[in-house]
Symmetry: C3
Subunit: 158 residues, 3 copies
């Protein structure tokens, strides 16, 4: 039988790229494919809880953490963000056009059983702890990603 699994590495933490990743993932899951999303580096910000979480961190890690957006609702655009105005404008247009926003896309991904893995090595580097991330994630490294990719027929880096 043909392989139809899909993997997406979500490296970017930009709203537009995150939306593209989830639209593709949800589309594939809706067509019956198993989908694994592997969140690494800035992509981890998509998975952060919106509230402040106390976590033991070194000074530099705490600084990084404080400067990065907490969760899907606070991401900016990769272009024309203008300090958040661009992202706000795009969200308004999406609501007018009845296009699902990122939080909604993420809820659909969960409902469809898409596997979301947070990259433990980049959590270390970015200083992001498990308590700061949303529920329902798996935690793993590059070997797990590669094993999934070997079983998949479409593998994207976003």
């Amino acid at each position: 039988m043909e392989k139809t699994k899909k993997t997406i590495i979500v490296f970017s933490g930009d709203l537009d790229k995150a939306m593209a990743a989830f639209v593709i993932a949800n589309g594939a899951a809706a067509m019956g494919d198993e989908v694994t999303m592997f969140f690494t580096f800035w992509g981890l910000n998509i998975l952060r809880r919106p509230e402040k979480v106390k976590a033991k961190k070194g000074f530099l890690q705490a600084m990084f953490g404080a400067m990065m957006p907490r969760g899907a609702g606070r991401l900016g655009l990769s272009k024309m963000n203008f300090g958040g105005m661009g992202a706000k404008m795009m969200k308004i247009v999406m609501r007018q056009k009845n296009v699902a926003g990122l939080e909604e896309l993420m809820a659909t991904a969960r409902e469809q059983g898409i596997k979301m893995i947070a990259c433990t090595m980049s959590m270390d580097v970015m200083g992001i702890t498990r308590e700061e991330l949303v529920d329902g994630l798996e935690y793993a490294g590059v070997a797990t990603y590669l094993a999934e990719a070997d079983e998949s027929n479409v593998n994207l880096f976003i």
Copy 2:
């Protein structure tokens, strides 16, 4: 028989990334592969007509449209663009070196029968209408992309 089809999602609207996408696509087509390029988000700007086109739009969509570059000739670099100077410099060097520019690469892609699909969902979000885009495109959504990707052995996100 081995699958040799290729798909490229062109998410970026940067000159350098667009050139990379078309160089890969044209190379594959020259080797006899079927190639599908799926243009989404900022990548749609590559396909815009250079002239102003009247189109019915909401206020925010019109603003987005006015601020984004109209077509291959007006794109900037992803790095070191310096308000367009970087792109101009790169074009001059390319002419000196007899390297094909983006417009030329796009013409070759057409001649080679590369399928170019504009993502209808992101057209809605970015406020880009069909009249604003060049001729010869197909219009479709993520399901069409996924069907093409399932038949392909190389699938890139650029």
Copy 3:
């Protein structure tokens, strides 16, 4: 037998993306896969020697060359770089956490026999000559990349 080769196009010259590329490449090589990395556009900067190298160049090419970082030690982050401060902070955290830095990742890639190809067409466009790049590279164009990708089961664009 299943194909397990991997290719990675390294288009970006950002420290974070370069690290992601080498972590994936090294992981795959450690699992016994053949890996080809194809460096193009800004990705070529990762391969530059740190010292100044005299090379015959046109004026614009020399300018480009002077403004781009020379080698893995001088790259910036794709986000939150703050004129190099971000990259410095990330390197300090990585040392604290015993995470391998980019130079170390590149040394491992060499030891594991990962094939590194510099894209000759983008060398022309960026004005980068062979003398400016580190030893042990191959030089080729898009046709070579596509031949490798056709034999691989995972192909990423970073």
